[in-house]
């Protein structure tokens, strides 16, 4: 209280104006107005932050108190306690503020709590200043493009004279609008953020971003539709599975509000963009605006769709309720197969559990008609010669086949030739370079095939060869030597043949079987 709080504080001091006009974030007086409005709103919160910043200057250890919290609480208290013609009583407010202050530092003395409460309240009134108010400075661009600094004076809590000559407290419109109303928003609401962004962007001609925001809004609508669809589906199955008393009506009301809101917004946006589209000179802008028109139209279509679904939801619920409530109750008490049979069965000893599963199997597996054989049938059956194939059915029509052109890159002969080259003795591996040279001598296309086969051999299917009882297997190993070849690059692989011990393998296979 000894320190006079500053009544002037700068929000904007300098704005670099060396940038070209097009890159300025907020061109035009309309956009500037929005900026100024927000600066003013921001200024209203500054005294609260200021309290926390200045509490260190107080004589004593007060950092334990959250001053902004106490300040907001006192503004709330004043707002709630002031009646129409008078205001709230100063001492009463302090008294009601005390429990919260005390809760922040329970160990401190009561006198200190009262001192803090009074300090906060007096700072909100800004007792130390002459006009008992606050001032913020902000800048705008005038119509001529010049930058003008302006003062913004405001009060948060003002003292008003009461009927009996006393002084009462009232919160100002600024305090109510900003600190009670505007701050009380769900700052994490994606929907609100997207909406605000879209409007702002449209009004500033930022079409690309506007498109993104419009798409986000559409996404929200789709989410609503999806939630609704799931709810209705669940309702069709079982009305009681869905909370039609509160949750769903709330959701429907919210979604209808959303639709109404979006519909209004988007029609306004549509008008704006259409104008932007028609007035845009730049082809790129024109195209973007046209795209945005399509998106917004789609949004509106989806909103309309959602709305009609929402309107159908109530009747559907009533119809389903009638159907399900007046449907004949199941004649037998439903058996909960899992809860009453499977779950109790699993923890008990298998010997006992088997009795239950046996009983279930005996009556639950169905019946089989035993096949009975008569000896005479058997004799006939055995003596009947097998039917000739042509007696089996009608003659198959000749299929109309179209010969597909042989588009394989390599012919059978080439494959044979390449495999022949790769048919290496198991004790004499060869380098890929040598094999490629040999192949090139036989056929200019052959090296490609050979290289392919060699690459395949780098990771030979040992397991498959093993299972199929192959005797030998081609493999390739890279020893780091680079390949020197006019057509191919990479490693000069060493190719060789490994012999597989088929007998031992089949013996090993037989073992586990």
């Amino acid at each position: 209280m000894s320190v006079a709080p500053p009544n002037v504080w700068g929000v904007t001091t300098t704005i670099p104006y060396s940038l070209p006009g097009a890159a300025r974030p907020a061109p035009g007086p309309a956009a500037d107005e929005g900026l100024a409005r927000r600066l003013k709103a921001l200024a209203c919160t500054a005294p609260l932050h200021d309290l926390d910043a200045r509490k260190a200057n107080l004589a004593g250890e007060y950092s334990v108190y959250a001053m902004a919290e106490i300040a907001l609480a006192s503004i709330d208290l004043v707002t709630l306690n002031m009646d129409f013609d008078t205001g709230a009583d100063h001492d009463q407010i302090v008294a009601r503020l005390l429990p919260r202050v005390a809760a922040q530092a329970p160990a401190r003395a009561h006198a200190e709590h009262e001192r803090v409460a009074r300090w906060v309240l007096e700072n909100l009134i800004n007792v130390g200043s002459a006009d008992r108010g606050f001032r913020a400075v902000y800048g705008t661009f005038g119509a001529d493009g010049g930058y003008v600094r302006r003062d913004y004076d405001f009060k948060l809590i003002e003292e008003v004279p009461g009927p009996g000559g006393g002084v009462y407290l009232r919160t100002t419109d600024e305090a109510v609008n900003v600190l009670v109303g505007a701050l009380d928003t769900d700052v994490t609401s994606a929907q609100i953020a997207a909406e605000v962004k879209l409007e702002v962007l449209i009004s500033r001609g930022r079409l690309a971003d506007a498109q993104l925001a419009a798409e986000q809004a559409r996404y929200r609508t789709v989410q609503y539709a999806e939630t609704l669809r799931r709810t209705l589906e669940a309702t069709r199955r079982n009305v009681r599975a869905v909370d039609w008393l509160r949750t769903v009506p709330d959701m429907i009301a919210e979604a209808l509000d959303h639709v109404a809101d979006r519909y209004r917004h988007e029609n306004a946006i549509l008008t704006n963009i259409r104008k932007a589209r028609d007035e845009a000179e730049e082809p790129e802008h024109k195209r973007r605006a046209a795209e945005l028109v399509d998106i917004v139209k789609d949004c509106i279509r989806r909103h309309t769709q959602l709305q009609s679904r929402l309107l159908e939801a109530g009747p559907l619920f009533r119809a389903e309720q009638d159907r399900q409530a007046f449907a004949a109750p199941p004649a037998r008490a439903g058996l909960d197969l899992y809860g009453q049979l499977v779950a109790p069965l699993l923890p008990i000893p298998v010997e006992q559990a088997s009795r239950v599963t046996d009983a279930f199997f005996a009556r639950g597996a169905g019946f089989r008609t035993p096949s009975a054989v008569r000896v005479t049938d058997l004799v006939d059956l055995l003596l009947t010669p097998p039917l000739e194939r042509e007696h089996l059915g009608a003659e198959m029509p000749e299929p109309d086949l179209v010969a597909t052109p042989d588009d394989s890159r390599f012919s059978e002969e080439q494959l044979e030739s390449a495999l022949d080259l790769l048919d290496l003795p198991h004790d004499a591996p060869r380098r890929l370079s040598g094999l490629l040279a040999d192949a090139r001598r036989r056929d200019p296309e052959l090296p490609y095939l050979l290289a392919l086969l060699a690459i395949h051999a780098a990771s030979p299917p040992v397991g498959t060869a093993y299972r199929q009882g192959e005797q030998r297997l081609l493999f390739a190993v890279d020893d780091g030597t680079p390949l020197d070849d006019p057509e191919f690059g990479g490693a000069d692989l060493i190719l060789g043949t490994a012999r597989l011990d088929a007998v031992a393998m089949s013996a090993a296979r037989a073992e586990p079987a």
Partner: protein, 303 residues
């Protein structure tokens, strides 16, 4: 539900020789032709995959059974004489029959799976496969009661689900520090879930078929058998085979198997308490990690 059902023991007058006329208060004497029709209807009922919608004569006999009480009693008597229980006669299910315990039509576990006759563990697993298939086909009590309900199951889904339930029990046992290893001289006292957990879910075979002794193999056998019983229809190959239930399966589980198994469980002194609500519930929106992997069903058990 059958429109008309009568305990088999009460139909002595409905003999198959047409001689029941003097015993019939409602007139309408039975001719050998009627008896032949009644037997034919039962014959149709013995072909579980045949549906009245696919066969005009079958449909006509079903209609007659529903409209002509004398004929209905005759047909039911024929079935009873063959050791069959009539579960329902309707256009949707046809003549749904179940085999009595000692009937020649009854399937015995030993015939169903050879190993089950000698190995107690296998016997249990084969039975459990059938029970679990039914439990996943009709996850909620109302699904079993609702005539219009069609369940969908997959082989891998059933395995994953049972395995998860077993794993929960294992975790619970671990938490309490309980030693679940059975005494080696009393294998029958091993907890049922352990038998399932011990068995591998699948295994490699030489011919790429399912390993018959694995749990998916056992479940695969069960569902294939149920298809032959006219209880399931195969709809695809995904997840080890996907199937949907028929009206007959619902009747069989509801009217025969479920109550029989319950009676057996009660006999063991285990009284499962249920309040009529499902113990399998749809997964929460974000409860994905709690679901059995590829169970193919959006259900999980209460913890």
């Amino acid at each position: 539900m059958s429109e008309y059902r009568e305990p088999a023991a009460e139909t002595p007058e409905a003999g198959t020789h047409g001689g029941g006329s003097e015993g019939q208060a409602r007139g309408a004497s039975v001719t050998p032709g009627d008896a032949a029709d009644a037997a034919r209807l039962v014959g149709y009922g013995l072909q579980p995959k045949l549906l009245p919608a696919r066969d005009a004569e079958y449909a006509e006999l079903i209609r007659r059974h529903r409209e002509d009480p004398a004929f209905a009693r005759l047909a039911d008597a024929v079935a009873a004489g063959l050791g069959l229980i009539v579960l329902e006669v309707s256009p949707r299910a046809g003549m749904a029959l179940a085999a009595g315990e000692d009937s020649v039509f009854a399937v015995r576990m030993g015939d169903y799976a050879r190993r089950a006759a000698s190995d107690a563990g296998d016997r249990f697993l084969h039975g459990l496969a059938h029970l679990a298939a039914a439990a996943l086909a009709f996850p909620r009590p109302e699904d079993l009661a609702d005539d219009g309900y069609i369940g969908r199951i997959t082989v891998n889904g059933i395995d994953a689900f049972v395995r998860q339930a077993c794993r929960r029990l294992e975790e619970k046992a671990d938490e309490t520090g309980e030693n679940t290893d059975p005494a080696s001289d009393a294998p029958g006292l091993e907890a049922a879930w352990r038998v399932y957990t011990r068995r591998s879910a699948t295994g490699a075979t030489k011919d790429a078929r399912r390993l018959a002794s694995s749990t998916t193999g056992i479940i695969g056998k069960a569902v294939a058998f149920l298809v032959d019983s006219g209880f399931l229809q195969r709809t695809g190959d995904e997840s080890g085979g996907t199937y949907r239930t028929t009206a007959r399966y619902q009747l069989q589980v509801r009217d025969m198997a479920g109550s029989a198994a319950m009676a057996e469980l009660l006999d063991l002194g285990i009284v499962p308490v249920a309040d009529g609500t499902a113990s399998l519930v749809p997964a929460a929106e974000d409860g994905g990690q709690d679901l059995a992997v590829d169970a193919g069903l959006p259900f999980h058990a209460h913890a």
